[in-house]
């Protein structure tokens, strides 16, 4: 194809997206669109899978049977969501095994928030409330993104996730209304998860490399800073309601902006974790790689068995 032809195709492509038409797997698409989507969608899938670990850490220790089944179901949903997202990514011509390979070798990223440890039961509440809360703000606009398989996967994800944040906030309510010890546990969890949750919405707009392109392709509808502000504005009243204090002395209502002003985020910490030096980066990867390697003989056995069954069937047919 000549450069001119490609230019014209790209122009038509951009117009289609601007008209809110969806792009489907076999449609022509610019290579950069394909690569950007593989990167973002797989990063999203990896985040679901790695995100199972900090919460999975508390399944065996959940304080009641009711909490245990809710947590199990939630972590299982994360596996499901990872699966939907890997499948959607595979429509772009890359296999799940290649995507795992990228995760396991550190080539692919996942959400940094999962590199923090879950130290108490209240962390299950804080993660559901804050981390899922921030994730929803990111995810809801994606139900309308330009790439059909991604949009469809996100519709399913958002529908299923509606219970996750409620599950977390309910845990926090119980703790906040509980004994002084429980309330302290809840406040401590909020203290530790608040700032990482704000960082989770991405670097500030002036530092964000992908925003303009992502906006055009509807991978993003709002900038990181807008999303962060939305998250803070909706979360602060929720903390007030249950008598917990957001750990930010600079937080105050700005009447003029009709929004909260908030303190400086420690971006050095953010970049440290992104670059692999957070408290749990190594542990998380070890867990993922370990599960994959321990599972290899199982996956091989299933394939060998399927092949034997097929051959036996063929023999019978002769």
């Amino acid at each position: 194809m000549s450069e001119e032809q490609i230019k014209s195709l790209e122009k038509q492509f951009d117009e289609r997206i601007a008209r809110d038409e969806k792009i489907e797997p076999k449609d022509w698409m610019p290579e950069k669109y394909r690569q950007t989507h593989i990167r973002q969608m797989s990063q999203h899938a990896h985040s679901e899978i790695v995100g199972m670990l900090p919460e999975g850490n508390w399944i065996t220790r959940a304080p009641s049977l009711r909490r245990k089944v809710a947590l199990l179901a939630k972590v299982q949903d994360e596996a499901g969501h990872g699966l939907y997202l890997y499948s959607a990514t595979e429509t772009l011509g890359i296999s799940r095994d290649e995507l795992y390979e990228q995760l396991h070798t550190g080539k692919a990223k996942y959400s940094s928030i999962f590199n923090y440890p879950t130290l108490t039961w209240a962390d299950m509440g804080a993660i559901g409330w804050l981390v899922d809360g921030a994730a929803i703000i990111n995810q809801v606009p994606l139900c309308n993104t330009s790439y059909g398989p991604y949009a469809r996967a996100m519709i399913r994800v958002c529908k299923e996730e509606s219970f996750h944040q409620r599950q977390g906030y309910e845990i926090m309510i119980k703790l906040a209304n509980g004994t002084p010890e429980q309330k302290e546990m809840a406040q401590d969890a909020l203290n530790r998860w608040w700032w990482p949750s704000l960082m989770m919405l991405g670097p500030t707009d002036d530092k964000s490399v992908h925003t303009a392109q992502s906006m055009k392709w509807k991978l993003k509808r709002k900038t990181n800073d807008e999303l962060r502000q939305q998250f803070i504005d909706q979360t602060v009243p929720q903390a007030d309601l249950i008598g917990l204090t957001i750990p930010d002395p600079d937080l105050k209502w700005n009447e003029e902006r009709q929004s909260y002003d908030f303190g400086e985020i420690d971006w050095d910490e953010f970049w440290q974790v992104v670059k692999g030096h957070g408290p749990m980066n190594k542990e998380r990867m070890k867990a993922r790689v370990g599960a994959w390697e321990r599972g290899e003989w199982v996956r091989d056995a299933a394939m060998a068995h399927a092949e034997k069954k097929r051959q036996r069937k063929e023999k019978q047919a002769v």
Partner: protein, 251 residues
């Protein structure tokens, strides 16, 4: 307690699901593939659902306000009545599947009988559980076949797991005092009658999976009387951690 036999009988049933559910739950996030991970969690969720039905009923029978969580998490190690089989660890996926399979075949036959119980609550619970357990049995049997009749390595691993777990199977068919009392009342299931069919079904499936049925006649027992393997203590310290560390609180 007025109806201590029935109470103990229910705990004997439910503790199996509780401890096996806990073991399956440990795997969540660490399964051999994403699809298998999700399937194993489903089994764990089914089992905990069963536990809640049984313990809620047991709580009612006790009649002193004890909750499902009190029963599940606040007993001492010697008071858990599960069979030794279900507390065995996830040494590798073959052990997970082997343990599940050896229990499922029993569990399915047991529930089919419990459906006929003269205790209407128990028969209703059995009615609901049997659909779940039919699926568990199908899932674990299929995997025994895959691993047994897969690669040389998987065949060896599956055989090792079956050999090791075999010693815990006989206990499934022992009668406790509570069993005897409830059987006499038409409530409980006489598990001794399930034994022959159990070994026949298991052996058939193992043959189909190209595995040897162990010939050893040396069996372990004690779980039903609260004399467990060393594994259970560690499992309970996780299960009970929150209730023990923060007593008398709501979650």
């Amino acid at each position: 307690m007025k109806n201590e036999n029935l109470y103990n009988y229910i705990l004997g049933i439910a503790d199996n699901s509780l401890i096996l559910g806990q073991r399956m739950g440990e795997l969540c996030g660490h399964g051999p593939s994403l699809e298998t991970d999700i399937a194993c969690t489903n089994i764990s969720l089914d089992l905990f659902g069963q536990v809640r039905s049984y313990f809620q009923y047991a709580g009612k029978i006790a009649g002193d306000g004890r909750t499902e969580d009190d029963i599940a998490m606040l007993r001492k190690e010697r008071e858990y009545k599960n069979v030794l089989l279900v507390e065995q660890p996830n040494t590798n996926f073959a052990y997970t599947i082997g343990r599940q399979f050896l229990f499922d075949v029993y569990h399915l036959a047991f529930l089919a009988e419990l459906q006929k119980s003269s205790d209407l609550t128990l028969s209703a619970i059995a009615n609901k559980c049997i659909k779940e357990v039919s699926y568990h049995e199908r899932f674990s049997s299929d995997w025994v076949k895959r691993l047994g009749d897969g690669t040389e390595e998987s065949n060896q691993k599956m055989q090792d797991a079956i050999n090791d777990l075999w010693t815990y199977t006989d206990e499934l068919f022992h009668l406790t005092e509570a069993d005897k009392a409830t059987v006499a009342e038409g409530i409980g299931v006489d598990v001794t009658k399930l034994k022959d069919n159990y070994y026949k079904s298991v052996s058939n499936l193992l043959t189909e999976a190209r595995l040897q049925t162990p010939e050893s006649k040396w069996f372990q027992k004690g779980g039903k009387q609260g004399v467990h393997t060393e594994h259970l203590g560690y499992l309970l310290s996780d299960l009970q951690y929150m209730q023990r560390t923060y007593p008398n609180m709501e979650w």
